[in-house]
Symmetry: D2
Subunit: 491 residues, 4 copies
């Protein structure tokens, strides 16, 4: 279904009323600031893109399979007047939507992939919509929709105010382990970008100025010799034995690598039938560290462990589907602007109903896990990346080594809820998550507006970017020429 612009605006007008109902304090009590117009535009479109986020939440499509989600976002952007280039970088669900022209070029990143097994209704207790089905446990339904909300509002703002410059929305698939952005970088899609803005769902409102963990991943596929496990086990060479011994080797490695490393693996092929010595078996492993250089050293040792396991078992090893993201570089120049804007935007409060839901949900967390509900109303002070902080990984890291990059984290999850949980999936499918999404969209839009209006900011961002990169070279562990692992979620 195509929606005509007129109809969209009409639907947006209705949206204003809805937004007023949903977020009364927000919409009505906004203090007049330099960002008043752009923030009002965001607010007017907020209900519409909240609905979009809910639709994508219901789609819950896995990495590189986000056909409906990607199509929906493309449609929204196209309808709003963006030029859409679909299926870029050999990724069927990747796209670039562009508005305007000339410098500066400011991009906003959108993600929309779900996670396996995290299907969850919007209830405060574990309650899958469908058994073993995917769910938006990382809130990427909000991420992609909130980024689109900011982009569409910005486009309207630029048009109304005749602002020069190019605004891009990057539809980036398969953030969860598929490294979608890395292939998009390799396809040259970020070559002319001046600044990249992004955000990610979280349980707090904060500027996201670098950090995260560099990550490498691969499938370790062992090949042995099958044999009847009762009749002639001595004829077999067990690929599963190799997987087991590689796993053991990894466990023994943990003590002897730097602090703040992470290694985790699953067994994706553990043999076909108990009475057959497995001739293939596979272990799928991620390794992470706050710094890419350190991770490189750990990765070499992991490869040796795989080879040692093969040697021990007279099997052979095939390291497949190597993936990876580098850590996220900070940009202190952009961070200053972002912090100022986020503080201007402020947080939000739960309605009594939301608060009740949140309190119920927190009961499901482990002891000590619950956060402070009122913290959704505040903005955290600006922080430097802390290598000792708990962190995940993102292919935004690779962007940040190629383009000056700054982001936000907003309180879409009930405080205390961590990503990749059913609690996060529940929060992401309701107004609790949508309110956080709107905070992010407002902060993104205000910051992009600043960048379009003040060229000095862009220059400072670039200077800081060069400083951060000093004595470092961007290097992805993904082998040159490797195609996107479009089937990585199909095993």
């Amino acid at each position: 279904m195509h929606v005509r612009p007129a109809k969209l605006i009409s639907s947006m007008v209705k949206g204003i009323v809805l937004a007023a109902a949903l977020f009364p304090t927000r919409a009505l009590c906004q203090q007049p600031t330099q960002h008043q117009q752009i923030l009002q535009l965001v607010d007017q479109m907020a209900a519409h893109f909240s609905a979009t986020s809910k639709t994508i939440w219901e789609y819950a499509e896995l990495g590189y399979q986000e056909e409906k989600s990607s199509a929906l976002l493309q449609r929204e952007l196209q309808t709003a007047g963006f030029r859409v280039q679909a299926a870029v970088a050999d990724e069927p669900t990747a796209f670039v939507a562009t508005y305007g022209q000339g410098e500066p070029v400011v991009g906003i990143l959108g993600e929309f992939d779900a996670l396996p097994g995290l299907s969850q209704a919007t209830t405060p207790d574990r309650n899958p919509v469908a058994a073993d089905a995917p769910g938006h446990g990382c809130g990427h339904n909000l991420l992609g929709s909130g980024a689109a909300l900011a982009a569409v509002a910005l486009k309207e703002y630029m048009e109304r105010n005749h602002i020069m410059g190019t605004l891009r929305y990057y539809g980036t698939p398969a953030e969860e382990g598929g490294d979608g952005k890395v292939y998009m970088i390799r396809a040259g899609l970020f070559r002319d970008v001046d600044v990249i803005l992004h955000w990610h769902p979280a349980d707090e409102n904060a500027v996201f100025n670098g950090g995260m963990l560099a990550i490498n991943s691969a499938r370790f596929l062992f090949h042995g010799v099958a044999a009847h496990a009762a009749l002639a086990p001595e004829r077999g060479r067990s690929a599963l034995d190799a997987v087991m011994l590689m796993g053991n080797g990894i466990e023994f490695l943990r003590e002897h690598i730097p602090n703040n490393s992470r290694i985790h693996y699953i067994i994706t092929n553990g043999g076909a039938a108990p009475n057959v010595v497995p001739d293939t078996a596979e272990l799928y492993l991620y390794a992470r560290h706050p710094f890419s250089a350190v991770l490189g050293g750990i990765w070499d040792r992991i490869l040796k462990i795989g080879q040692g396991a093969a040697l021990m078992t007279e099997t052979t090893l095939d390291v497949r589907e190597v993936g990876g993201d580098v850590n996220v570089l900070p940009n202190d120049a952009l961070a200053k602007v972002a912090q100022r804007n986020l503080e201007e935007v402020g947080g939000f409060r739960y309605t009594p109903g939301e608060r009740h839901f949140a309190e119920d949900l927190l009961k499901s967390l482990p002891a000590g896990g619950a956060g402070e509900l009122d913290s959704t109303g505040i903005v955290q002070p600006l922080r430097r990346p802390d290598p000792n902080a708990a962190a995940a990984s993102t292919d935004v890291g690779d962007i940040s080594w190629n383009v000056p990059t700054i982001g936000f984290r907003t309180a879409t999850f009930v405080p205390g809820v961590v990503p990749h949980t059913w609690q996060a999936a529940a929060s992401s499918g309701m107004t609790i998550g949508q309110k956080g999404m709107i905070v992010a969209a407002r902060a993104l839009a205000a910051t992009a507006a600043d960048l379009f209006l003040d060229r000095q900011l862009v220059r400072e961002a670039k200077a800081d970017f060069r400083r951060q990169l000093e004595a470092k070279t961007y290097q992805s562990v993904i082998p040159a020429g490797q195609k996107p692992p479009l089937n990585y979620r199909k095993k």
Copy 2:
């Protein structure tokens, strides 16, 4: 489709011609003996049931999913005049086909399930018909068809000669790990049987007088606590860790259990995504020993290892789908008759084409694995069960602790080929396997004929049965009340 008797006979007559073509030596040079008539009947129907075996080979259905295979055999038996009771013992593909009445009651066992991943064309090199598809690597297509051949010939023989007694064909599903016969025993289907005859494809012609390995099996499903493996691995309790440690524990057990034990396992659930601490993981394990009593002791220790792994990892353990077969008790009284008849029946020779194929096939075996091709022409001397011999397991074991039982092994596989290999699957889909099947059918038919004609044999079989059971009690590891694991091949 129903086939009318007239048509069947007509097709059998054609079969005779075909059999004459396929097995000229066999059909034409048969020396006249007391078994002449029954053996001729088998030969006349041999081509027809060879075709049946080929059809089932093409169906290649897994345990408890043998819908077409079971239906085909039921149809054959019904058409030939048997009364068929379908879907017995809560097993949709189990059936009992009966002819005649009164004593003695002689049963012949039929199996027809295939093995996962062993799809293979009738070529002397690895060549799956369909990738990852099931195949008849244990020759059960021959087993069920050969048993049916014997049964249908016997029915004709009994009818022609007005022989009293009850002849049964037991359609027993899911021999490969599904323990189909155990549930049929529990349903009382063997309660009135005097003697059970059976056979199994092999690479030699021999009486199968007991032996094999008692087997226990179960799924060890561990439950832990999921957590984001990068953000908060310390909050997780890994079910995969429990699986790994259980595996390790099993390996350490191997040294300290009696010789000739076998334990083998696969990992059927090794986690869902590398970045999530797995909250469920599963290990599927078989344990075997020549003697059920010894196996019981080993099984207790395996359970402890599972519990220890749970204790070590703060996970919980659910032992599911417990299965098992006891070892096969010998019956020396029946073995004597069976040996005499098998020697009367004799072996067979390959045609030059078959020999050429067999020689090519043997090249794919590991060094020292090839057998002597001429050995298909001879019958092995009668052996006692040897606990040190390589062996597999069968739910015929459970039959043998409940009814006097004797069997045959015939050279359906090229000598040197072991069951559960693609080489066995190839042999089972062509005349090489069919010739072995006919040897088995002839031996079964001759032996059943003896039992119907000589009540003293039955009495001696029962006396020996009581002797073998002395100081032993039949006990299956399968919990009382457990239903057949109809989905065991669906994971």
Copy 3:
């Protein structure tokens, strides 16, 4: 040999000359301050106690076996006029030396135990004095002697200035894993102490204001059943298997405990002969974390892993010689005074010969390990305990939960050298280490002098102590009633 006071003073006078030769800058250029007298006293006795430190370095006695080292220090203190109470707290080498009376009671801690296997000559390359012999790889020869230097100088200072108060030197054995101080606490020896001062050799000059890792330790002794490993391995129950599986279990635990934890173990009994299934085997394990409360949770899980290993192997587990220290509580009131005094005392410089030695020694460190040699001349700014910093453990921790405690770390080791290495042992046996020791003695003496002279400092120290302890309870993992493990170094 008893040394008469007159003789000691005489030897001290000689010492002054030597000190002047060794530390000319130090002794001659000291700026006049309020601490002038006490610092001069330390300097006068510095050469004598440097010689003492060298003698103890040569003794190199292991924990609870420090008979000669303890006796030497007792003799020095007694000769200087302290009252010595020997063999306290059921520890033959523990002692308390007291001077003066009344309040305040200020204690200085002395340690003097060596480490196994670290025998090393004072050469810049690996060169054991005796193969496999103990060595002072943690510099406790300096620690005990430097503390005695401070104590003897203080006594002279108090006497000359008629200062009231009680000065104690605590001779505390077996710091390295023997928890000597814990038993001394239990014996009530610290009950009346107002403030405890201590120091530890390091590669920098800094105030030691809390931190370190809480530690628990134990021997996990498994009992199985012996059997001939070739004739009847199935009769054996291997205690070594239990040790191996416990080790494996520990490795799998590492991923799922909080950051900054440490677990390390050795196998102290791995079986007697390969052809006998081991009926006993033992694993000796340490676990650590910056916070005692977190460590308690980890310890419970380690115990479960031991129990799981026993369950898996049908062995029994005896957890023996449980030991442990809590982390070191900071005392910010005392830290302020200590920092001021250490800055007054200042660092020191290497002579050209020492510098040459240090440069040679640094070549033996791993890449990136070498420190800045000039850093011995500076004092680090005051730091708060950092749970992410690399750290070891000490039974000073237990003191710090019972008495307000502050310490120093001084640059006795060539910068970059870490404790428990042969490089540390080499540094500790020469002027490089002795110079650092004198810095410590000066800082200790000045701080103790302040405490004796200013009662307000003591009150503030106690107030801060109560604040730090809020909502915490001192609890040692060592079972009540357990005797000191006097033989822990004899295995």
Copy 4:
């Protein structure tokens, strides 16, 4: 002390009386046979050598440390008139004692080493003479003394009857893991021997015609990098981790090697201190199989596992002190003679006191372990080597691939008692063991007498020897040029 011949004979005469007291049935009721004289000579000297066996039992010296035991046996043989060549083959406790000259050359093997940790009084319950001290748990005190008894009696017999030929007693040290005989073979000491006779303590009377397990052994010493395990575990490369992973690798290997293999290991160096990452660690491993050729293949895989463990842990591997014995070849020609003689010699009965002791002792065995006490009175029928039988290893194997060899096993241990247990040590220090020893000496002496008197027997032995060796080549795993591991029991 030197004993003059006259005195020896005198002591032997006294011995006769003692023997008559000890073994009345034996000494008095002997039926007159062709072996009457030689058997009487054995009986006359039996008490004397029983005392010798008790003295060596008390010495209980470990392999290559059997100084007193070897000296005592040398003295006995020298006193009796043998020429003794001491300290042969670079083994201080090895010797060759020779009597006579010319052909045939018949050798008798003597062993005399004890086992660590098996010190045990002659009581029916566990009761070490000294804690952790060695004991004769394999009865080699009887072995060496019984062989000497046969040799001395034979010398007297040859002298009296002017029998030509050379009689040798080989004093072979360190049978228990030291491979003493292999180095003696390499030194050429067996080059001119026609037939070797031997015996071994057991719990039955039988001809020992080949069998046993070929064995390979080695120490796997790993080298890593030490580091403080709390301060900088990431700098360490743990040799203990390598040992643990090698152990794990071995456990996973067990499933995939031929039946009747044995692998067992201990950890001889598991690290020095828990807080130091171990830079050395060692695993000491034996592998066995009934056939040397199969063992060779297993050994290659064990080496790979060691290499894999080194690769996994960034450590290096040093395979040290490689040892090994081949399996014992049968000699059917000699076995026939040996069986006839053993049957002539017969068994023996316990006195009521011995029987009471034996019954008490049997209570300490595991359920089902007790044997039939009357079985000491019978001789087992001649058996072929059974690869499925429980078995140990012996360096007699290496002899048997170089010289026609036959042996005996006699009931020195209470039936049901297995070697390498305290029960075996108890049995070996008392009349129960000595009676078995005398049976062995009688059988050895009678068989040697036959060989000296009948050259045809020797020719047949050699012919059978050549037949057994067909298509086989003697190959020891011990590297050429390696010296005897004289310190192997000192670790």
